[in-house]
């Protein structure tokens, strides 16, 4: 059986990566958009994003719109590659060679 990346294997992080990879390369998602899309709390999403950022799978950009803080998140090239490898690993479980 293929090895499954433990960072992505966690169900919430898998969903976060799927949402980010679902956008085109270079596209950024707003923190609130991700939270609402995945039905997560702010704290939960923050914690998992931090873990993904430490792994180099996502890039987090904090900006201000007026006085309001705004957080943008995007999947890095490394994150996309890791996600693609994870999907390949799942498919190899389904269709062993």
């Amino acid at each position: 059986m293929a090895d499954l990346d433990p960072v992505i294997h966690q169900p919430t992080r898998l969903r976060i990566m799927a949402a980010l990879v679902g956008l085109d390369e270079g596209d950024k998602a707003d923190f609130g958009f991700l939270r609402d899309l995945l039905g997560l709390t702010d704290g939960n999403l923050s914690a998992h994003l931090q873990r993904l950022e430490e792994a180099g799978y996502v890039q987090i950009e904090k900006t201000f719109v007026g006085r309001r803080p705004k957080t943008w998140v995007c999947a890095t090239a490394e994150g996309r590659a890791a996600f693609a490898a994870y999907v390949d690993a799942l498919e190899s479980i389904l269709y062993p060679k």
Binding site: V21, G22, L23, L37, L38, E91, I93, L94
Partner: protein, 191 residues
């Protein structure tokens, strides 16, 4: 991991990827609902104004509706940008300029060919131009929008040829209705 778990994960992944892609564009559906509602009110009102032979008051109906539409479009554009910064958003600039060019083209035709003397001709030209705009817009964004544009264009030509007295009402109910219906469909399937 068991094959069934892997299959469930793959299905969930595909579903989330699709939802993310559509949800980031979700406000596109609201643009159609907004302009569909404006068409519904505007063309229905125009039908009854024309029936009452009060054509000179048509612009008093359309002016506030168009201002409402422009303000609503700006508001939705800002809200859309708050959700996701997409590279494809770079297309919005050229698309906006294309709509502006079409409006300028219509303005020139209306002025040069003196179409303003006949409100029905102006309405037909604008509806056909908007239909063309949707067809072109769909080629860059999503083919379904082109189909809506094609429907509106054919509807306008059909009505003006065989049922000219019901042109405004037909465009209001079927054209505006198609925009509202398809906008709601995009919203429902995108979020």
């Amino acid at each position: 991991m068991q094959p069934q778990d892997a299959l469930d994960d793959l299905r969930a992944i595909r579903q989330i990827m699709e939802r993310a892609r559509r949800a980031s564009d979700g406000f596109g559906g609201w643009f159609m609902v907004l302009w569909g509602a404006i068409w519904l009110v505007g063309f229905t009102g125009t039908h009854f104004i024309v029936q009452a032979r009060l054509e000179q008051f048509t612009h008093w109906l359309w002016m506030p509706l168009n201002i409402l539409g422009i303000l609503g479009t700006i508001y939705l554009g800002i809200r859309m940008g708050e959700r996701a910064r997409r590279k494809s958003s770079a297309l919005w600039g050229p698309i906006f300029l294309w709509w502006l060019a079409l409006a300028a083209f219509d303005g020139a035709l209306i002025w040069k060919l003196r179409l303003y003397t006949d409100g029905a001709n102006v309405a037909l030209l604008i509806v056909l131009t908007i239909a063309l705009g949707y067809i072109q817009f769909g080629l860059f964004i999503y083919w379904g929008i082109s189909v809506i544009g094609l429907f509106i264009g054919l509807l306008a030509l059909t009505l003006v040829t065989w049922l000219p007295e019901y042109f405004n009402l037909g465009v209001a109910l079927l054209g505006g209705g198609a925009l509202i219906g398809s906008g709601l469909w995009f919203i429902r399937h995108g979020e």
